[in-house]
């Protein structure tokens, strides 16, 4: 029964060439969340020690752990739901590049919060989610490892920033130059019919 319903919906969706409403919501939640958390991370890194810094760092970590959970939900949704196909106007090379870009984004969305969690553990700061739920330390305290993980966290973030620029650039290129529906099918207010 359920399977049948999903099958019907999939048919309709592929006909509309759109992502599911859940996929669209998850995409924009993660996009806004990652941009905000990135901005906070960029701002906080140079702060001198103060109560404000400790608060900002905590919020950054809480946001990062929330995003990690959200990205896992998103990844599960992505794997269990078919995505609309690329238009035939895209050649095989462009389709492969788009796929590779999307999976690189998924890798970075997971690797960035994980590297942050790892670095926090290695530096001797346990993560207590929203000050309530203590998360396990992934590695024991090790200053050298902490410094290496911090560097990895920064490099991964700049890689994400570059990949997102490419992602947005490709979407805009499709929308304004190729004038296809690639971008609008992920827009929150896209017409569904």
């Amino acid at each position: 029964m359920n399977h049948h319903t999903v099958g019907l919906r999939d048919e309709k969706l592929s006909a509309y060439r759109a992502y599911t409403r859940s996929a669209i919501i998850l995409h924009w939640l993660v996009a806004l969340g990652m941009m905000a958390t990135f901005a906070v991370g960029f701002y906080m890194a140079g702060l001198p020690l103060s109560p404000n810094k400790l608060q900002v760092y905590s919020w950054h970590k809480w946001a990062g752990m929330s995003l990690l959970a959200l990205v896992m939900v998103r990844l599960a949704w992505r794997i269990s739901h078919p995505v609309p196909e690329f238009p035939t106007s895209m050649d095989a090379m462009a389709q492969r590049a788009a796929h590779a870009g999307h999976w690189l984004l998924y890798f970075l969305m997971l690797a960035i919060p994980m590297s942050g969690w790892l670095m926090s553990s290695a530096q001797g700061f346990s993560v207590v989610w929203f000050g309530v739920l203590p998360l396990p330390d992934l590695v024991s305290k090790d200053a050298e490892l902490g410094a290496a993980l911090k560097q990895a966290h920064v490099i991964l973030n700049y890689t994400l920033a570059g990949t997102v620029v490419g992602h947005v650039g490709a979407a805009l290129y499709h929308h304004f130059v190729k004038k296809d529906s690639i971008m609008s099918r992920m827009l929150p207010l896209a017409r569904r019919t």
Binding site: L49, S50, P51, L54, Q55, Y57, S58, Q123, G124, F125, S126, V127, V128, G131, V132
Partner: protein, 190 residues
Amino acid sequence: MKALFSRAPVLATVLLLGIWGNVHAAPYTTLDGAASGVSFGYSQMNVKMGGSFGELRATEFHFDPAQPEAAKVSIEIKMSSVDAGYAEANTELAKDDWLAWRAHPIATFSSNRVDVLDANSYQVTGSLTIKGVTKEVSAPFTFKEDGDTGVFEGSFSFQRADFGIGEGQWKDFGIVANVITVTFKIVAKS
């Protein structure tokens, strides 16, 4: 006669053991600074943090297991030997808002009383002075003999605000909690 001769070495052994025993039961009077340690726990944004002091010494130390109530201890801890878990915090602790260790380089604990709680478990009550403020604290501790050393382990907590530790912008206990837990392991020789 034979029996008498054989008794002599037995007697000698017993006597020797007696002296040996007395040597062991002798009071512990010297604190081993390298083997001893004072660590502390605090909570920062609800995250449990740990730290320690690297340098401590006793200006007075006397613990006789046969007369624990007569024990007396005075300990000095060098404030600048603190490690609060990360470099930024160590730098911050030097400041007047925290330990002000240029003005108050040493924290002291001086016992006033030792009570027996149980077999090998005691409680020391004394004056704790940090940053020029003196408060009375009590710490339960255990004592065990390990070879020719005596090992004293215990803990107590205090409220940092009582000593003016963490003033100004750090007064808010929502950032760094008020309660500081101190754990000590003192190793002493006779």
